[in-house]
């Protein structure tokens, strides 16, 4: 068991997040009677699943030193295209659904990667452009029409674990959570235990240095944006499963919320840093804050302002180096 002090040194952001989440949970457990229950815990996980799937994808891009704001719209595009493709295939099933959405997502990610890699356009500009192209074409071609008649396999709830509470309500863990766990584990494996994963870190930390020691820059770009694309596609599939409908502008704005959460989890826009654990904790912290505000009866109109303040503070604090301050103070002593 590593000591807290050691954890602060190796993983400061993650440790802070865990401390904040724990104390917040304690406060909420005392002040509200619904927070500390299996139903609420499972609900939190069910609701956060799609965001975490997006978040671990975005994490890889942020580690590589890029940024992508087009993934949420890409997920919507994938939903529509996959719906028609699967219909042509005779309805499809979960397996085909995963394959089709993942592939479509990878294609959309690869377009971003290609523009960034071959034409040296800065990633924020490329993804602002692809965001608008995707969104404009999607709204134009679908005319904003929703899709309700999804195949049954797509909308039927898949319950993995269920447990009846004393008061008769059911605590359920559903399919999105399983997909989320798979996405988290795969991403964790990719960035920690594969050569290309370590190359992504290296490239994000110092692009020129990494290029000179022989990191395959094209592979870094295509795999990081492709990975995010894949997660966006699968996230889209799961989001449609969760809401049981496809709405063209349902995911607009989600990209910024996810980005904020990932950054809260310790990833930086400079690249080269960020962990899967931090990223998951970041999403969960925001979900818990919203859940808590909800249970405390705060008006939903205030949620975003509160979340915005929290993110602004955490970005400010995370860039102030505590160890540096401590070292400076020690020197003065």
């Amino acid at each position: 068991m590593p000591s807290i002090d050691k954890m602060f040194k190796t993983h400061p952001t993650e440790t802070w997040l865990m401390i904040i989440i724990t104390s917040l949970s304690l406060v909420l457990s005392i002040t509200t009677d619904q927070y500390f229950s299996l139903v609420n815990l499972f609900d939190l996980l069910n609701i956060s699943a799609v965001n975490i799937i997006f978040a671990v994808g975005l994490l890889v891009v942020l580690i590589s030193g890029g940024i992508d704001i087009s993934f949420a719209v890409a997920a919507s595009v994938v939903q529509y295209v996959a719906f028609y493709i699967l219909n042509d295939m005779g309805g499809g099933n979960w397996f085909l659904g995963f394959v089709v959405t993942a592939l479509l997502g990878i294609v959309l990610g690869a377009i971003n990667a290609g523009l960034i890699h071959y034409f040296r356009i800065i990633s924020i500009v490329v993804t602002i452009a692809t965001f608008n192209i995707s969104f404009g074409l999607l709204m134009f071609l679908t005319k904003g029409v929703y899709i309700y008649n999804l195949p049954d396999w797509w909308t039927d709830r898949v319950i993995l674990i269920e447990h009846q509470m004393a008061n008769g309500t059911w605590a359920e863990l559903t399919l999105p959570v399983a997909v989320m766990v798979a996405a988290v584990v795969l991403t964790w494996g990719l960035i920690n235990y594969t050569s290309i994963g370590r190359q992504i870190y290296a490239y994000g930390d110092n692009p020129e240095g990494a290029r000179r020691v022989g990191v395959n820059v094209a592979a870094v770009h295509f795999i990081s944006y492709g990975w995010l694309g894949m997660m966006a596609g699968i996230g889209g599939l799961i989001q449609a499963h969760f809401t049981q409908e496809i709405v063209p502008n349902a995911l607009i704005g989600r990209e910024l919320d996810v980005l904020a959460a990932v950054v809260l989890g310790g990833a930086t826009l400079g690249g080269g840093s960020g962990t899967v654990l931090g990223c998951v904790l970041g999403v969960l912290l925001i979900a818990i804050i919203q859940n808590g505000l909800n249970l405390l009866g705060v008006t939903p109109f205030a949620f975003k302002a509160i979340v915005g303040v929290i993110i602004l503070f955490s970005i400010t604090l995370s860039n102030v180096s505590f160890t540096e301050i401590r070292a400076r103070m020690a020197k003065e002593d």
Binding site: F131, F135, L269, L312, T316
Partner: protein, 325 residues
């Protein structure tokens, strides 16, 4: 990338000529495409639409020159508009006197400058990435706006307020005059003052700038405060043009401002760019917007088209850079 001063001048001069040629070309294309295009009504409506977008573009341009970005511009404009609306409504609504309008404008500008200052302060003192800082500021401002208005339109202002957005002096829209004055001030600031020189330096190499004795922190704070101030003026113009304020209004401008900056030869990594080419680029984009409208193009198709144009502009820029090296 090292440019000698002469080369730099040629580069920018070529830029202005190229953009002017492009401007003339699209005017001709739209005139041929639709008989309704080359008319006084079209151009006067453009002159009324351009200023708000133009001011937001200037607000975007200053941080880009310094190697940053300000994603909060549209919401800063909204919140500033709200500040003015609040002042007017708390001093009589439709019957509010002109002195309260002036007071409201000052308050709006203060709010805009304050949100810019906050971004600049965090960027300068924590070295956090401007994209993130301005993004969280944007989420915060949007949240505040939604909290205050619950997503509704705020309207009911005195009659004379519309004069700013819809009135004209000698046939020139007042809003356009305001924009021209702001653009001119920014031009002088960037090309003739210490602050302007420092802004370009910051965009080229922040460390070297710091070592050469420029107060980078103060400079950054002024850059973002100015950006916020420009947003607030845009917000005031938007309020008077539509005679209402809604949080989220003009959200689509964000892309177009970025596009105008890059089309206007501002370097996406900072350090290079001038006001005049950006204003020309703005005129081009405004003509395209109006032209597409007149041809009867779909609004969403136009959004997609902006995205395509942004990529094409960046590809052309990449080509030019290859030729230079």
């Amino acid at each position: 990338m090292i440019f000698s001063e002469v080369k730099m001048k040629q580069y920018l001069q070529g830029e202005v000529v190229g953009l002017t040629a492009f401007l003339v070309a699209i005017v001709i294309i739209f005139s041929v495409a639709s008989p309704n295009f080359f008319t006084m009504t079209t151009f006067s409506s453009m002159a009324y639409q351009l200023p708000a977008l133009g001011l937001l573009t200037l607000a975007m341009m200053i941080p880009i020159l310094s190697g940053g970005l300000n994603l909060a511009i549209t919401y800063t404009a909204n919140i500033s508009g709200l500040a003015l609306a609040w002042t007017l409504q708390s001093f009589g609504g439709i019957d509010a006197g002109i002195e309260f309008f002036v007071l409201g404008c000052l308050f709006a500008m203060f709010v805009g400058a304050l949100s810019g200052f906050a971004i600049g302060f965090v960027v300068a003192y924590t070295k956090a990435h401007p994209i993130l800082v301005s993004l969280s500021m944007m989420i915060f401002l949007r949240g505040i706006g939604e909290f205050l208005t619950h997503g509704k339109d705020i309207s009911g202002f005195p009659q004379y307020v519309q004069y700013i957005g819809q009135g004209a002096i000698f046939g020139v829209p007042i809003a356009l005059l305001i924009f021209i004055v702001c653009a001119f001030i920014l031009h002088v600031l960037l090309s003739r003052t210490r602050q302007g020189f420092g802004t370009y330096m910051l965009g080229s190499n922040i460390k070297a700038t710091s070592y050469s004795g420029i107060n980078t922190k103060r400079n950054l704070i002024i850059i973002y405060t100015l950006s916020g101030l420009m947003c607030s003026i845009a917000g005031i113009i938007m309020l008077s043009r539509f005679n209402s304020v809604r949080v989220g209004h003009g959200e689509a401008f964000l892309l177009i401002t970025v596009l105008a900056c890059f089309l206007g030869a501002v370097d996406p990594f900072g350090g290079f760019g001038r006001v005049l080419p950006v204003v020309l680029a703005l005129a081009i984009l405004q003509i395209m917007t109006s032209g597409l409208n007149i041809i009867g193009s779909n609004q969403h198709l136009a959004t997609a088209l902006w995205g395509v144009i942004l990529i094409v502009v960046m590809l052309l820029r990449w080509q030019w850079r290859l030729k230079k090296i």
